[in-house]
């Protein structure tokens, strides 16, 4: 089980600190309790002082390799072991390995008769031998009030306490002393006078039928510390202090993007989906499909091999599984593979604190990368608006510090403007998807749009949101003369556009055909003209040859005739010569 601990590096001239390992406490005290000095933890009965003290020691052994001594004045060794066994601390093995000493000191007034001067050297001796036996660096005295109820001579007691704390400081052990709060004073017997280095007050109240535990660092000499009252929980892993707002908002900003589970939605969100480690709000009126969207998100996470936690506050696990199967999502297979866990409980079963503890314990134990809380608005039935808002803030902080991407669904009422009712919670969310009902033409269809998404360019268009057998489908929405066209009107529009495009194509085909025909015609004409020309050419050639041959013939005939006529004339001409 990994926990991120955000511990600030030690500033100069600050006193040395001893980390407790308790979730959130090291953060508030900026490093832990004062090293080598006593710390006073006070609170009424049942506040969790013993648990805090025991966790301080146990984690000291397991996480920081510092052996510890627990001097218990109220509970016996076996009782202590049993009480913290459920938190996973195996005290007997620590004792066996000589890392822990559990010493029960019984101080019973009825057994004791005081007859003169005495001191508490016996306690010192026992403490000393216990510390020396294992080389302890941490000591717990729980609870110092028992000394006051056992011994009646307060003068001696006070003197000895002063001596004790000086002795503890001198031994260099980091000590935790528990005490009970008194009316008007921090502790009933004024022990805070002696333990002046660090005082932490634990408070346990019941307000509006829900129990609230708070912790406050009243005093911490020599260092900066958070001075507010911080809520804390006692869960299965021990104490967890949840700062209301992380003191310095030092969450890392991750650059990785994860899919929403609906591909078209990923493209609407800058092409890649949500940033990892962010918080997402999905709001809408009843029946708009918020849970379905959440189921897609969870399925996408499981498909990537990441663990997911689904917190359902309205439906039982089986109901969710069955409903999601109808849109083609099989959540059961992920559960079987151990990648998906459900936590289904109506808010009214417990108070807000208990829910917070359970979610916290589940998150720490199961270590999911993705969490869905569906819906968050149900908690309004067990808390006031401010309480629910502060719970959501704490949840967001818890998830962000663990780099978990969280999706919260929220039911809005149909009458008011959906964007207005979420003002308190939505400002803390990094992304906000709104699901709306779009009414037109006597139909109701669902629309989705991305209202905000920090850190990325997102689409500003409404998409029609369909729940089909194969999951969520997003379709483009058309703008008609009367507004958005969705549902059947969209289908009609799509059909019309399809018909138009077919018509255009056909027209193009027709034109092409016409062109071809014309060409053919033209070619035919050209061919005919050529043929005519060829014929003409042939004829004229023939004529020319004929004429030529006629000419020749005439010449030959003339010559012949002249020969026959003894062509004297010609010879005469010739004789002239001869």
């Amino acid at each position: 089980m990994s926990r991120t601990r955000q511990v600030r590096p030690k500033a100069k001239n600050e006193i040395a600190k001893c980390p407790t390992g308790i979730f959130g406490l090291d953060e508030i005290t900026e490093g832990g309790l004062p090293k080598g000095r006593p710390t006073l933890i006070c609170g009424a009965a049942g506040c969790g002082k013993t648990i805090l003290a025991m966790e301080f020691l146990a984690r000291g052994v397991t996480e920081f390799d510092e052996p510890g001594v627990f001097m218990a004045f109220e509970e016996t060794g076996p009782e202590l072991i049993k009480n913290v066994a459920s938190m996973g601390f195996d005290l007997p093995s620590m004792v066996a390995r000589k890392k822990l000493v559990l010493d029960h000191v019984r101080v019973e007034r009825s057994e004791i008769e005081e007859t003169g001067e005495y001191d508490l050297e016996g306690l010192f001796i026992r403490l000393s031998s216990a510390i020396d036996a294992i080389g302890a660096k941490r000591v717990v005295l729980d609870t110092i009030e028992s000394l006051f109820s056992g011994f009646s001579n307060t003068n001696i007691l006070r003197a000895e306490l002063r001596r004790l704390f000086a002795w503890l400081k001198q031994r260099g052990v980091s000590a935790v002393i528990t005490a009970e709060t008194g009316d008007g004073r921090i502790t009933r017997n004024g022990i805070e006078e002696y333990v002046a280095d660090c005082v932490i007050l634990l408070d346990h109240r019941v307000e509006d039928q829900s129990s609230i535990r708070r912790l406050r660092v009243v005093k911490y000499r020599g260092t900066m510390h958070g001075t507010n009252e911080y809520p804390f929980l006692i869960g299965q892993t021990g104490l967890s202090v949840l700062p209301l707002s992380s003191l310095k908002l030092e969450h890392k900003a991750l650059a990785e993007r994860i899919s929403t589970g609906v591909p078209r939605l990923d493209t609407m969100l800058g092409g890649k989906g949500f940033y990892r480690g962010t918080s997402i709000l999905v709001s809408g009126v009843a029946g708009t499909g918020k849970s379905s969207l959440a189921a897609h998100f969870v399925q996408a996470a499981c498909a990537r091999g990441e663990r997911a936690l689904y917190m359902a506050s309205e439906q039982s696990t089986n109901e969710v599984i069955r409903n999601m199967r109808s849109i083609g999502i099989d959540l059961e297979s992920w559960i079987k593979r151990g990648l998906l866990r459900f936590y289904a409980a109506r808010p009214g079963t417990f108070g807000l604190e208990k829910h917070l503890v359970t979610i916290h314990d589940l998150t720490m134990g199961f270590d999911p990368r993705v969490v869905v809380i569906d819906p968050i608005t149900n908690f309004g039935s067990v808390g006031t608006y401010t309480e629910v808002k502060s719970m959501v803030t704490r949840l967001i902080d818890m998830f962000k510090s663990q780099e978990i991407t969280a999706m919260f669904t929220s039911l809005t009422s149909g009458d008011s403007n959906p964007e207005q009712s979420e003002v308190g919670v939505s400002s803390q969310m990094d992304a906000w998807l709104l699901l709306r009902n779009l009414e037109c033409n006597g139909e109701r269809n669902r629309g989705l749009y991305v209202l905000k998404s920090r850190g990325m360019a997102h689409s500003n268009q409404i998409r029609e949101f369909l729940l089909t057998d194969h999951g969520i489908q997003l379709r483009d929405v058309y703008l008609g003369p009367a507004g958005l066209l969705t549902g059947s009107a969209r289908a009609a529009q799509e059909a019309k556009e399809r018909a138009e495009s077919i018509e255009r194509r056909q027209q193009a085909l027709r034109k092409a055909f016409e062109l071809k025909q014309k060409r053919q015609q033209l070619e035919a004409e050209i061919a005919k003209m050529r043929a005519d020309f060829a014929l003409m050419e042939h004829r004229s050639l023939r004529d020319a040859r004929e004429l030529e041959s006629q000419e020749k013939q005439i010449l030959m005939d003339r010559g012949e005739m002249a020969r026959i006529r003894k062509a004297d004339l010609v010879q005469a001409h010739g004789n002239g010569r001869a």
Binding site: E113, T115, E117, D119, L120, G122
Partner: protein, 114 residues
Amino acid sequence: MIKVRTKRQKIQSRRVRAPRKAWNLRLYIAGDTSRSLAALTNLQKICDEHLPGRYHVEVVDLLKNPQLAAGDQIVAVPTLVRRLPPPLKKIIGDLSNWQRVLVGLDLRPGKVSQ
């Protein structure tokens, strides 16, 4: 461990009847301080007066044997523990207030002790 053995006194006090059982007392101290010595002296005197010949006192110095403090749940010092006869009784202080010591040991003068 320093064991202080007493001389068994043959003189029996008229007021106190001879007991059937012996008293077993343990005094826890922390080093040789004036308080420890005072406690020891006082104890000796009380025992000699009220439990002559019937007591057995062990003195445990916790500085030498710190582990013995846990057994009898010793927090204050000096502490006198009445181990026998039962029930267990603890008396803290230097035992200078004899009345309270006697009350604490359940050993009021004149009372029949077992």
